[in-house]
Assembly symmetry: C2
Homo-oligomer: 205 residues x 2
């Protein structure tokens, strides 16, 4: 199989970024088709037409490639959620939209293209940094909505804020984490609405 | 391997019950050691010392044996929960205990003896009648606590009762269903307490 023409000796800079991007695009496509777990760096190298050693110049392991793909995927969910929240005026409605969009977007990204589930599942099982960072950002979005709601007196203020964030995160988690989400398909239609309502009742002043 | 001495032609009655029990006891032990998924009825027959045909006289399939073992296991969890609830006077405390004991008892039965997880997981994945009946009984216990709490004015009465039951069940489900529970080990120490508190806030009049 042909090697690409980029010289391994080229100076670090925009070119390196291009190669990294090229590897990520090709790897995403390859994982989509053949799954993350089953693919080795050798398979990937063969498919892209790079040498294995050349790929290792840019990524130290298969997981490093997976992490970046996973991060892109989680960022997409986060952007969907942020956009949905911005479209609402009131904190209670923001919370509903956060839950609803988070579930819909996760379902689409993890399961419609079933092969990406593989990477997300590894990230969750092995507690990758990308998965932990995502969890942190989801909690930060929650915190922000709760603060706004407390200021506007939509939400109660007695419970310590961090306790409220954590508990609501625990309610949402089974619908955001791909390992749990796969066992929740049956309740997917109504659960986000019913759980949002319960959470909002728990927040009433 | 020796066949047992009970005659296959014996009249239905107490003797049949004994044989069924004998099969269940031996099968439980065998599944514990070798797992449910990997064991066939032939393996089981060999291990117990019955012929395969003889086992089929009493159970129409491996699943029928698994269902009975699973039902015993779920009944044990239910009994633990019921006992814990009876020890509390007030509905809010009953709810806390239901959650806490349900999780502890499920962890013990599904995971301390890892091999029983196998059966419970099949029951949950394939939506066996035993698993559905258990879900129904858990909801009935919840309904009972909620009714008592509404009568005593511990809980709000505006939300339709069935909606409240369903939403609280959805909060508890990730900690009772073995397929979900296995991914929740990290949050096991605090989650039942934090989620019970959230649920109780949602119930406040």
């Amino acid at each position: 199989m042909n090697k690409v023409t980029i010289s391994p000796g080229s100076a670090r800079g925009p070119v390196d970024h291009d190669v990294r991007d090229q590897i990520i695009v090709a790897a995403t496509e390859h994982f989509r088709l053949y799954g993350y777990e089953k693919t080795t760096v050798s398979d990937l190298a063969k498919a892209i037409g790079f040498s294995k050693a050349y790929i290792y110049k840019f990524f130290e392991s298969k997981q490093a490639i997976g992490e970046l793909i996973c991060a892109n995927c989680l960022r997409e969910i986060e952007m969907d959620v942020t956009k949905a929240i911005e479209g609402a005026d009131h904190p209670p409605e923001k919370l509903r939209r956060m839950f609803k969009t988070g579930v819909e977007s996760s379902l689409r990204l993890f399961f419609e293209d079933r092969k990406l589930y593989d990477i997300a599942a590894s990230a969750a099982t092995e507690n990758w940094e990308t998965a932990r960072a995502y969890e942190g950002r989801i909690k930060a979005i929650l915190l922000d909505i709760l603060r706004q709601g407390r200021e506007k007196e939509d939400f109660e203020r007695k419970t310590p804020l961090d306790e409220t964030v954590m508990a609501i995160y625990l309610v949402m988690r089974p619908y955001l984490n791909p390992l749990l989400l796969q066992h929740n398909f049956d309740s997917m239609d109504d659960a986000p609405t019913q759980l949002s309502s319960l959470v909002l009742r728990s927040l009433s002043p």
